[in-house]
């Protein structure tokens, strides 16, 4: 079952007040749930729709448009690995393959222990620090195999 905690409710009140039209809070609410649970379940979509007077189907149609929302559970750490041009030119493909191999999720996916979700990603606006990846909210730039080892091994 999905429920908003009191802390969520306080945040939601604050978010909704930012906009003259309730529906504007849809992305922020989806983000709130995505960050809390690691994904947005059908129950959560219904609950968000209830808050904003939107049908669950509508919530899903909007949610499915944006790549940062997941409808299935993800790992504790979501690794977005940029493969776009500036990173490609600086060896991102090899490093992505290396990371996939290291984690045992070739080509991307969630590790068995649910610690990592690896995802090939489009440009993340860190082109001058290519190759790069984003793990949860943190950007890691100028990657090498050694650096990737160090970063991944240091995450609890």
């Amino acid at each position: 079952m999905f429920i908003f905690t009191q802390e969520d409710e306080n945040k939601i009140d604050k978010i909704v007040k930012k906009y003259p039209v309730k529906q504007s809070a849809l992305l922020p609410l989806l983000t709130l749930v995505q960050r809390r649970d690691g994904y947005v379940s059908p129950e959560a979509m219904r609950a968000i729709g209830g808050k904003l007077e939107l049908s669950p189907g509508y919530v899903q149609s909007v949610m499915s448009f944006y790549t940062m929302y997941h409808s299935e559970p993800t790992g504790k750490y979501i690794i977005l690995f940029c493969h776009n041009i500036s990173c490609q030119l600086n060896g991102a493909d090899d490093l992505f393959a290396y990371t996939g191999e290291k984690l045992g999720v070739n080509g991307g996916g969630t590790t068995e222990d649910k610690k990592f979700t690896l995802h090939k990603e489009e440009c993340l606006a860190a082109c001058c620090g290519a190759p790069m990846m984003r793990i949860n909210d943190t950007f890691y730039e100028n990657l090498t195999k050694e650096k990737i080892d160090k970063i991944l091994d240091s995450l609890p």
């Binding site: 944006y66 993340l124 606006a125």
Partner: protein, 420 residues
């Protein structure tokens, strides 16, 4: 060299209001509030400032298109920086958030706007947190809120995060996203200045554009228009990436030779390799061959050379690059990011990616290249929004300048077939 945006960019603590104020921050507000709103618009027009997000439309003129006497009006700051190669706005947001707030306050005063939203791409959570902190500081000092510094201006400013969609950088798609919808572009006209956010007149400007405004107020529009070339005024942040020794964001005066940006500022090509190609303004702008390295970095010169200044992302490729491979990655990007609303873009981007993929894998023929050009022709200026034209740019320019890279991959097939 004049630095409008990056003068103190690496100063410790610049993102805090105290350090920012100690460097003369928020000083332009007093000057701005001493003038009438229309005078500010006049100053920005006179400065020659053009939109730094990609289109290069004159900022002051854009503001003057706001529907007369229709209120409330809104400001949406475009911080959806997603154009491959571009990473300048993130640096401004994270290092000097108060400069953006100061620019927004003046813009809202000039355009008589009482509510502003900074729309950041979803991946900019960290930048958004820093921005929220800066906004809170600005409220505490009375730079935001009711009757700011006795000027009569009331202004509420908020951040709003997207959730992963390149198309939301297109201004009308951004508005839909901000209204809680799928980020699909709107039909224009009506333009946002007439019917924008919530159907009300809306100013949409890129982060960099708004960040220039305080300098124009402080130093005067003449000083801005004295910088640069006849039609490209001021400075531009250029994100130099790819095969250079010192990739980074550089602030250059409009009209600086591209050779100087690549070889002096960015330290030249890695391993002292040979330059093969560069993309001057982000992945949506046509690539140019090394022979055009002496082109000047300004809107008109780059256009005359066959490309566009775009968002100011200079992507450098050395002689080891196969243009087909690089183009294939961009074709994948546009296919992935096409919102699917209009047929030529939705179908065209996928089809072009498939054809390029076959060429790259060695199963392409000359007909594949002809077909790519044919599809490009059927997409150019025929898609609902500029994403279609953007998708075509690297493909057509790549074939135009680097046909031999295509031929090499195609010839292989012919040779293999004959031999086999």
């Amino acid at each position: 060299m004049t630095q409008i945006l990056f003068k103190n960019i690496d100063m410790e603590g610049l993102n805090s209001i105290d350090v920012y104020e100690s460097q003369g921050g928020y000083k332009s507000l007093e000057k701005a509030f001493a003038k009438k709103p229309d005078e500010i618009i006049g100053m920005v027009k006179a400065s020659g400032l053009r939109g730094r997000g990609g289109a290069g439309f004159p900022a002051g003129l854009k503001w003057s298109f706001l529907a007369k006497d229709v209120f409330p009006r809104y400001l949406a700051c475009n911080a959806d920086e997603s154009e491959p190669g571009t990473c300048k706005d993130r640096e401004l947001l994270e290092k000097t958030p108060h400069l953006l707030i100061e620019g927004i306050i003046i813009t809202c005063y000039a355009c008589r706007i009482e509510t502003g939203y900074i729309y950041l791409r979803g991946e900019f959570q960290h930048a958004s947190d820093l921005m929220d902190q800066a906004i809170e500081e600005a409220y505490a000092k009375g730079y935001l809120g009711k009757n700011i510094m006795g000027s009569g201006l009331n202004l509420e400013l908020y951040t709003h995060l997207g959730a992963g969609a390149y198309i939301c950088g297109e201004e009308s798609a951004l508005l839909n996203s901000l209204e809680g919808m799928r980020g699909e572009p709107r039909l224009k006209p009506p333009f946002p200045a007439v019917e924008g956010l919530y159907g009300k007149p809306t100013v949409i400007n890129n982060v960099e554009t708004l960040c220039v405004v305080p300098w124009i107020i402080n130093e005067g529009p003449e000083k801005h228009s004295a910088l640069g070339t006849e039609k490209s005024k001021g400075t531009k942040l250029v994100s130099v990436s790819g095969h250079v020794k010192k990739p980074g964001n550089y602030e250059v005066v409009m009209g600086t030779p591209i050779r100087e940006i690549i070889y002096d500022m960015a330290g030249g090509i890695r391993n002292d390799n040979q330059l093969k190609a560069y993309i001057p303004g982000g992945s949506s702008t046509p690539m140019l061959p090394a022979s055009k390295v002496d082109v000047l970095y300004d809107y008109e010169s780059i256009q005359a050379a066959g490309s566009m200044l775009g968002s100011g992302a200079l992507i450098v490729m050395d002689h080891t690059v196969n243009v087909v491979e690089a183009t294939l990655r961009l074709a994948y990007f546009y296919m992935h990011e096409s919102c699917g609303k209009c047929t030529p873009c939705r179908e065209g981007t996928r089809w072009m990616w498939q054809l390029l993929n076959q060429i790259q894998e060695g199963t392409g023929t000359n007909e594949h290249v002809d077909k790519l050009l044919d599809i490009s022709d059927n997409m150019s200026f025929k898609c609902f929004c500029p994403l279609g034209d953007a998708a075509v740019a690297p493909i057509v320019s790549g074939i135009q300048h680097f046909r031999s890279d295509y031929d090499e991959l195609i010839k292989k097939l012919t040779t293999d077939t004959v031999a086999g």
